[in-house]
């Protein structure tokens, strides 16, 4: 246990002992012991379903444990609701922060404890609220207009606001539930700066992440969870990539380098020319070949998803053309595009990619319902089951049966179903938007292998990813997108994490510099 930072009693030692949590017969946490120390960033690692999030939720009062004790600075505590945890100085920053779209930033920060004037009629003290909100943001060096509507904030900004909320509530223990996965590299840096700042002020921080680089960068202490148990807990000098990975998956793993082969052909599968839409993106043009894995790199919000959605017929375009196997598909609707062999697996599974309350089989066939055999206009459910079962087998979805709803599966397995849904159509072109978002390490490799196998079969694949490692590992060629324009193209040996990063971050920094100067 690191005792590097001296601290007084009452400054935020948060101890969990023997925490257990069951959902019905399923044990999610099986007796976790963890101690969070002030002035220290404590990282939780583990595969999806290992119980990290649940542990945080228990510690922050969102979920009641079945057993075990919590103690802050030696006082035993138990929480019926998160705000009780706030009162004891514990705050959880959720991955997708709680947005109050119609309220101002300042009010969102003070929700639940708006300051009121004293006197006979207690009215909201708007002025005090704004100045205190302003002050909290200043502490974190955040330039956000407290009078703006919350719906105008980016996810990164929303997370920052959540940090500020923790400060406003006087919380000393701040838990971050996988904050970085929706963020761009740039935004992650900014978040880490904030976290370091808080750590240096003596706050107690805990953090969940899947990204090894981040973990190695920010953590003072790392705990690894597997199947609801704590399998490792080490302070800074003792951890390294291999150790953590092997602990997480329970077997030896090594980082796989960039693949050496390519099966890219020179036959164009998808040709995009001069695609533009309003201020989102302009003059986007590229050619995707059969057997090629083409990466779209860039910051979140650079317009990559919008480009993909435009190609897929989900968004209007101002100009430009999209040609699939020689046919212009830019005026077609989505269903017609699917029928012609182009598919798009969106980034946000829960909202766009899958229908969580529906079954595996139903989700698999949802991309092209007509692929289920019909007689007299009636779907043959047995055939649908067969297709579902085939997908489950082929993509190794871990489930109890094809009639399980997707909601009951882990993120990785959900993603495999979404994969199977599209790949079962044997498309000629597949656009995969953040294919491993929210997927744990073990499943990631399976998904990479699947993508490579499809490319080998001749499919043309466009991968949109914010994970440098992923792009470097998968892609034959990478296009960098910055503010809606393709700013660089890399291929072959030129594809290294540094060069990919620089290809768009260079623009970002230059732009920022301009802004600061102006």
């Amino acid at each position: 246990m690191p005792e590097s930072v001296a601290h007084e009693a009452g400054s935020g030692v948060y101890r969990a002992r023997g925490i257990t949590k069951n959902y019905g017969p399923v044990a999610v946490l099986r007796g976790i012991d963890v101690t969070l120390e002030p002035g220290c960033v404590h990282t939780m690692m583990g595969e999806n379903g290992a119980g990290k999030s649940t542990l945080f939720k228990v510690m922050a009062g969102l979920v009641r444990p079945n057993g075990g004790t919590l103690a802050i600075d030696g006082d035993a505590v138990s929480f019926a609701a998160p705000h009780e945890a706030h009162a004891r100085g514990i705050y959880l920053v959720p991955q997708e922060p709680a947005l109050m779209p119609e309220l101002t930033v300042a009010e969102t920060m003070f929700v639940g404890q708006l300051p009121t004037t004293t006197g006979l009629v207690k009215r909201i003290d708007w002025r005090a609220m704004r100045s205190r909100a302003r002050a909290a943001l200043d502490t974190l060096s955040l330039d956000i207009d407290v009078g703006a509507l919350s719906r105008s904030l980016s996810i990164a900004q929303q997370q920052q606001i959540e940090c500020a909320k923790a400060l406003l509530r006087g919380c000393r223990v701040i838990l971050f539930d996988e904050p970085t996965s929706p963020l761009t590299t740039h935004e992650v840096e900014h978040l880490f700066a904030t976290m370091r700042h808080l750590r240096d002020e003596g706050y107690t921080l805990a953090f969940i992440s899947h990204r090894m680089d981040e973990v190695l960068e920010i953590s003072d202490h790392v705990s690894v969870l597997r199947d609801g148990m704590l399998v490792d807990s080490v302070a800074r000098p003792q951890f390294d990539r291999t150790r953590l990975l092997s602990r997480m998956v329970g077997r030896e793993m090594r980082t796989i380098p960039r693949r050496s082969w390519s099966c890219a052909t020179d036959q164009p599968a998808l040709v995009v020319k001069g695609l533009a839409h309003g201020s989102r993106f302009a003059d986007v043009g590229f050619t995707l070949h059969r057997g090629e894995i083409l990466g779209l790199a860039g910051l979140v919000g650079a317009g990559r998803t919008e480009i993909a959605e435009t190609i897929f017929g989900l968004r209007a375009r101002d100009s430009g053309s999209v040609t699939l196997a020689g046919e212009d598909i830019s005026t077609l609707q989505t269903h017609a595009i699917i029928e012609r062999g182009l598919v798009y697996a969106p980034e946000d599974r829960a909202r766009h990619g899958a229908v969580l309350p529906m079954t595996i089989a139903q989700n698999v066939t949802s991309g092209l319902i007509s692929r289920v055999r019909s007689r007299l206009g009636l779907m043959d459910h047995a055939d649908e089951d067969r297709i579902g079962a085939e997908t489950v087998r082929r993509y190794r979805v871990r489930c109890a049966g094809t009639d399980q709803t997707l909601r009951e599966l882990s993120g990785g397995n959900q993603q495999k179903v979404v994969f199977g849904k599209w790949m079962g159509l044997s498309p000629s072109v597949a656009i995969l938007d953040e294919p491993t978002r929210g997927v744990d390490v073990g499943a990631k490799d399976e998904i990479y292998a699947l993508i490579e196998e499809l490319a080998r079969e001749g499919m043309a694949i466009l991968v949109i990813s914010s994970e440098m490692e992923e792009l470097v590992r998968l892609c034959d060629r990478i296009l960098s997108v910055y503010e809606g324009r393709i700013v660089a193209e890399l291929s072959g040996e030129a594809i290294t994490p540094e060069r990919v990063g620089r290809s768009y971050l260079g623009h970002a920094e230059a732009q920022d510099g301009v802004e600061v100067a102006a």
Binding site: P82, A98, M100, E102, A106, V111, G147
Partner: protein, 325 residues
């Protein structure tokens, strides 16, 4: 501290942002008055203006309550029978039992609180969707009217009530308008400057987050329905005072529940919750009253009045969605 980087704020709206809908409503209302007034000067007469305002008082009260409930992402269909029951009970007790006016206010308050709270509890505690909850209580409360009245009806009210419904202060300002003004001011304060009101909006924005932040979600929801009930009951008292009559179909017969929703929507309330344009709701009721009167003045056959109302809803809502989209 390296993090001085500026994250651009995409939209700078300013805290004191104005609801454009209120201005638009005022604009079109004035325009309607002027246009129809040109055709028929009687339309612009002080007396006619006064009655157009008076006619919208009851509906405004309902719409204010409805706005609060819709702001929590709910809906209240039972306002119509609550209005009817309140009108019937206070009216009958005044007619036969000589209930003093103050007692009538107390009685209306009690009816509104009890029935509204029941709605709120069903929604918040049993998690029954609001539209279904109030559909069910609509039947229950309507039944209560029949049970209570047992075939009698209100045909006249004592002078104090008539004064409440028809009197003026200093011969100029009608008392119902004063009542509405006071209620509007109170609700405006509640929604804009009280913790309860802000909690209503927060719940409409994000219920789970509100709960996590320590907002008493159940109590706030129940409170919103209770206030809505009270306003509906007050509307009932104003109704019986203004018209001097109440029957078993008062409220429900005129589909006041749909009217109040329509008015709230015209006023800029979003059915998805989180917004509470209370002034807009009253302006919406006023606009409706002006337009329906205007239709009489320009000799549109009566059968088309409700079609006119339907068109207004469509125009108001689609115009609104364009603006916010």
């Amino acid at each position: 501290m390296s993090a001085t980087a500026a994250i651009p704020v995409r939209e700078r709206a300013g805290a004191a942002r104005r609801d454009p809908r209120a201005l638009v409503l005022i604009g079109v209302t004035v325009a309607t008055i002027l246009l129809v007034g040109l055709v028929d000067h009687g339309f612009m007469s002080l007396q006619n203006l006064r009655f157009m305002v008076l006619n919208c008082v009851v509906l405004s009260l309902l719409a204010l309550g409805q706005t609060l409930v819709i702001a929590t992402r709910g809906i209240d269909l039972s306002v119509a029978p609550v209005l009817g029951l309140s009108a019937m009970v206070t009216g009958l007790m005044a007619q036969t039992g000589g209930l003093p006016l103050l007692g009538a206010f107390g009685l209306a308050l009690a009816i509104g609180v009890i029935l509204g709270t029941l709605n709120g509890l069903l929604v918040a505690k049993l998690a029954i969707p609001p539209i279904i909850t109030t559909l069910g209580t609509y039947s229950l409360y309507s039944g209560l009217i029949f049970l209570y009245s047992d075939g009698t009806q209100v045909t006249s009210v004592p002078a104090a009530y008539a004064a409440l419904g028809n009197g003026t202060v200093l011969g100029i300002v009608p008392i119902p308008v004063l009542v509405l003004g006071a209620v509007l001011a109170a609700i405006w304060f509640v929604i804009g400057h009280s913790r309860f009101g802000r909690a209503i909006l927060a719940i409409g924005n994000n219920q789970a987050a509100s709960y996590n932040a320590g907002i008493p979600v159940t109590a706030t929801q129940v409170g919103a329905y209770a206030v809505c009930g009270v306003l509906a009951a007050l509307a009932g008292l104003m109704f019986v005072s203004y018209t001097g009559s109440a029957t078993v179909t008062t409220g429900t017969g005129d589909h006041m529940e749909l009217q109040s929703i329509a008015v709230a929507l015209i006023g800029g309330t979003a059915i998805s919750g989180g917004r509470g344009p209370v002034i807009g709701s009253v302006l919406g009721a006023l606009f409706l009253s002006v337009v329906l009167t205007a239709l009489v003045f320009v000799h549109v056959p009566p059968i088309w009045y409700s079609a006119g109302e339907g068109l207004m809803i469509l125009i108001a809502v689609t115009a609104g969605s364009r603006r916010t989209a």
